[in-house]
Subunit: 344 residues, 2 copies
């Protein structure tokens, strides 16, 4: 499958290969006249530049590597993923970058994948779609001084890592305040894995809001479960073991998927939302509005998280000297039908 090369074009246009190369780059040092001539030849031959050769000469590929958490299987399932991908995609596309996935099953697999990508020169930069405690990949990238950005808040050294994130403390605060504003005083927090920075931060916001309203924080009102469906179930059962008069009148659930589990469990227990108990969720993914009742949810602008991440990374790739920064993507509460004023 011998392709048309720059040399073929040069021959047809009767110029040197370098001239053709310059025409492609639209170098101003080539006269309009020959530019036209060369372009005609390109057209005629159906020339398309070879990215690989260009990459080798340039030492740059125009490709961004996407790194998913070790348990990619689970991650892919979360509706967060498609949306953030859409954002990444659009951000990359705007600057003519392509996206490549680091494939791998185990944690080790992924690590090696990243190393190969980076050392192999396959990508110009890398985006981490997660943030976790003690990440070898982060360490590796930092040591090599390789451009990367992270979605979420770095576990440490946040000042020296460009990252895109929500203000999750504020989001937790706002959601809690929203419930308090509806008269709720017994509000439970159902969060995901405590290892995740996001869980901790939203919890902080929750506590802050309680404190500001003069409401007590109770250990028994916070439950941590995995982000999966079952997580929701287990969480709710734990809460329902409390004496009736002590049960929460509202729930703060940090993930829509978990919320769905909670909803189902509640309905099994013959409790209706929002009549018996109010519920505010996070992320506002597609099916927040597909559940019954549709969920009031904190929209964290997932698309934008992805979009900004791409934009920031490309900025770093093209100029390594730009200072590290944090981009905060705004959030807002989308009110639907899972929240109601508390009954007096």
């Amino acid at each position: 499958m011998m392709s048309v090369t720059i040399k073929d074009v040069a021959k047809v246009a009767n110029v040197a290969p370098s001239t053709v190369s310059r025409v492609i780059a639209n170098n101003p040092r080539i006269s309009e006249q020959t530019k036209v001539k060369v372009r005609e030849a390109m057209e005629q031959l159906g020339y398309h530049p070879n990215f690989i050769a260009r990459s080798l000469a340039n030492q740059s590929t125009q490709v961004i590597g996407l790194v998913t958490p070790g348990s990619s299987d689970v991650f892919f399932q979360n509706p967060f993923f498609p949306t953030v991908l859409r954002g990444l995609n659009e951000g990359a596309h705007e600057h003519q970058y392509a996206l490549q996935l680091v494939t791998g099953k185990s944690e080790d697999d992924i690590y090696n994948g990243v190393v190969q990508m980076v050392q192999g020169g396959r990508v110009d930069g890398v985006i981490l779609l997660y943030s976790k405690v003690e990440d070898r990949i982060v360490t590796y990238l930092q040591e090599r001084n390789f451009p990367f950005v992270m979605i979420g808040k770095p576990y440490k050294m946040a000042e020296s890592i460009t990252h895109v994130d929500n203000d999750n403390i504020q989001a937790g605060f706002d959601a809690t305040e929203f419930l308090i504003g509806m008269g709720h005083e017994r509000i439970a927090y159902i969060g995901g894995d405590k290892q995740l920075v996001v869980t901790v931060e939203r919890l902080q916001g929750y506590k802050d809001a309680l404190a500001q309203a003069g409401l007590p924080y109770r250990e028994s009102y916070t439950v941590h479960e995995s982000f999966l469906l079952e997580g929701g179930k287990d969480a709710i059962c734990a809460l329902m073991e409390l004496p009736v008069s002590d049960r929460p009148t509202a729930l703060l659930v940090t993930d829509d998927l978990m919320s769905l589990g909670v909803l189902n469990t509640l309905s099994e227990l013959d409790m209706t939302v929002p009549e018996d108990i109010s519920m505010i969720s996070f992320n506002n993914v597609l099916f927040s509005e597909m559940s019954r009742p549709p969920l009031t949810s904190v929209d964290i602008n997932i698309f934008q998280l992805g979009f900004e991440a791409s934009a920031q990374l490309i900025k770093r790739v093209e100029d390594k000297s730009v200072p590290h920064r944090r981009v905060t993507v705004p959030h807002h509460i989308v009110k639907r039908f899972s929240t109601e004023y508390v009954k007096k």
Copy 2:
């Protein structure tokens, strides 16, 4: 960021660059002795092969291009996507291939993206994650004789296109038969876009099953809507306009997402599933079991679709002469709680 090259290794190991190259390829014409020597040098220097250079010399990149339908935004949303991606990922990973997304918003964008990828030598092959009528991309790839496989059934020339698909006629048949087996005789078909081959095929299976059972096929029992949520709503409203005694006792819905819409609409109309009406769905994505009631759904093995697609493509890439073939991924009905025997 001058990296360690094959030459550096050669110097340290005191051999020629070509020898190093051969050691990397584990060429049997190199003695074990020098292999060890060279590997030590590689280790010592922290050598990693440069994929780009290798690609250029090899004329192969070990990268697979993934093409989403023009409306990628919508496609990403469908829970089909993450699962098929997981399968693709795993299939590719097994053979050390990476996945690259064709980015683009409009149909034209995507087309150009594919052309660039292909002509630019960025990818060794391409997987189309959809099947549609009159596709320029298919035409283009065929003209260039570029390796590709399709997920779904090609609109035409299916014999000359390697593709991975379910037996959707059979699946439609089985689902319908399942309902008939529960005593249902008035069964409605709610399908997606008629342009999609899959919709047409499942409808065919539905008709076949009715015919075999001696049940009449009625035009008024088939509704076609988009795959989105609202599709489900509109569809159900149309059916509910029929006289009571004529209303279906069971529904066949060709997509889980639509099913969810149907469920919600039904509940708004105070009809309960499966007591008032039974329902069987397709695809069995994550939230088939998250809905209330959990959906009986035809599992089409989405993961496997992806996995096989990768495997088949890689086979073609590595040997262009393998004959085109169709891979049929099996399906099976997962019984949950949305189907019940008809009341006499």
